[in-house]
Symmetry: C2
Subunit: 318 residues, 2 copies
């Protein structure tokens, strides 16, 4: 089996090739797609490394699902529409079972969003997966970015925090953590990118980011890019029920720094009307957790309005 | 030093951001660029793994240069114009020296082609580099692909074959091969993608591919995609002077199967006029090496018109 046979067996066909403006897809030197004249191109790239971003024993379906989901989450955070995928897999050996399972997990998510796989690469080497998602955005719309937060904005977060981090702890530190439920494991292995919410936020939110490294680190990116500060009330955080199994301080720490949630954190002007909020809540639950202030930095407060300092601050890449 | 500091230090600024339709570049969840309404998007992605695609001791400048060059070569083979780069680096440790040298090699090539780095990722893990290049192509022009070769077409190749493969042998099998010259090492470490030639071939050539896995394997992709066969005369191959150091059969084998040449192999209709050929030759030297025939398969002949069988057929990915 060589690269071409593997690609032909598992990755060549895509249900959406014909309807997704794909001029040339998988199998040539490069892929060619067609954008509409009112669209910008939006691209993001993320690599997942075995033993670093996921435990080595993770099932190939989950590796595939997650590698795609984390990129969809980035596309969501720009308010864009995902369209085309490029995929590079590095794997130590020829393993038909692994590639078959990987392709199954990959297409299970790609098909939900009507995405076409248009190209990529396959190499021998230590397991890692790089996905790039190409999306489009109406060019007459203000893009959602990290840089637009305004003093006085309300800070919101979608869904709940902490389930994925809890599930990861329960795998890596078995002795100290109660086993994660199937639901918690699903948040780790099959995170849901908030693609529809992101599109709805485009034109409404002043800033947006997705939570990959933890709320603390990712909100700080918004603050730095926007030149503002923020005050969060920890008691307003939408905590996953998983976190009720552990003491409150550890729970706050996981919620703020655990990462892997792939929720959206965004800021809305304080004069947003209730109808708009209801429309966003109809897509997925959103929670108001704090506000943007002019003093730089991120201030955390508890339910008694006392300042809180967390010991572990975020996932570090090195 | 965390991911963001490394990116900010070495990869944030790009000379061409302002002139390359970059709406949002490095530093947000995704990048946004603008295409003109008469352009298609062309994308390709390639991963280089340490110890697989390059020797582990390769200098970071060369790793960077080559990771970009092999993608530019794919863009060239489509006849497209490269514009924007996304880059994912996986590296075992924090190493300022390495990243600095990598960035130097990277921009030394990116700047030649006026490319903007618009996004990517940085992870801890075994060294590998994934580059995606985004290019554009006039949508009213027939794209160069592997699939258009016609019976009767003449087969051409740009430049010379074998120097990169010779240089690699001289590194990996020091006892058996005379040391490579600086020029040969440059062909391995700093391959020249035939971007201008590819653009000139668009609308003229019936098919095109770049030579990464070796002429034998890559021409076979054209033959399979086009449903035709080919006859090559080995004595017509534009052999690198490096290959004159070794016996003729080993030389043919390296030229046909060595890989890493990043020349273009293309087919032209036999009624191409001399003026068009002269224009192509003015960009870089091209050599007529054989013809497309209706019988499937690739037939190799020597200077006496005798069939030749090579023992080693091509680089295999697994």
């Amino acid at each position: 089996v060589n690269e071409f046979e593997i690609i032909q067996s598992y990755f060549h066909k895509s249900t959406y090739d014909d309807t997704n403006n794909v001029v040339i897809g998988v199998g040539d030197d490069a892929a060619i797609v067609s954008l509409n004249s009112d669209e910008h191109l939006v691209v993001c790239m993320d690599t997942l490394v075995s033993g670093v971003h996921f435990p080595e024993a993770t099932r190939p379906e989950y590796v595939a699902y997650k590698a795609l989901a984390v990129n969809l989450s980035d596309i969501a955070a720009m308010g864009a529409i995902p369209r085309w995928i490029t995929l590079s897999i590095t794997y130590p050996e020829q393993n038909e079972f692994w590639f078959k399972a990987f392709a199954k997990g990959f297409y299970s998510l790609a098909n939900i969003h009507s995405l076409s796989l248009i190209g990529g690469d396959l190499s021998r080497g230590p397991l890692s997966v790089t996905v790039q998602v190409q999306g489009v955005l109406n060019k007459y719309r203000q893009p959602l970015s990290r840089a637009g937060a305004q003093v006085g904005d309300d800070i919101y977060i979608s869904g709940e925090l902490g389930a994925a981090a809890y599930a990861l702890k329960s795998i890596l530190e078995k002795e100290q953590w109660e086993a994660a439920s199937d639901g918690e494991l699903a948040r780790l292995n099959r995170p849901e990118a908030r693609v529809k919410l992101g599109q709805a936020l485009s034109g409404i939110a002043n800033s947006c980011i997705d939570i990959s490294d933890g709320l603390n680190a990712d909100l700080t990116h918004i603050l730095n890019a926007s030149g503002v500060g923020a005050e969060l009330n920890l008691s307003l955080l939408p905590m996953s029920t998983s976190l009720k199994k552990i003491d409150i301080n550890s729970a706050y720490e996981l919620a703020m720094t655990g990462g892997d949630d792939y929720e959206l954190c965004f800021t809305l002007p304080s004069d947003i009307n209730n109808e708009q909020l209801a429309e966003l809540n109809a897509i997925c639950s959103i929670s108001h957790i704090g506000k943007i202030i002019s003093d730089k930095g991120l201030v955390l407060k508890d339910e008694n309005n006392h300042k809180v300092i967390l010991s572990k601050m975020s996932y570090r890449h090195f």
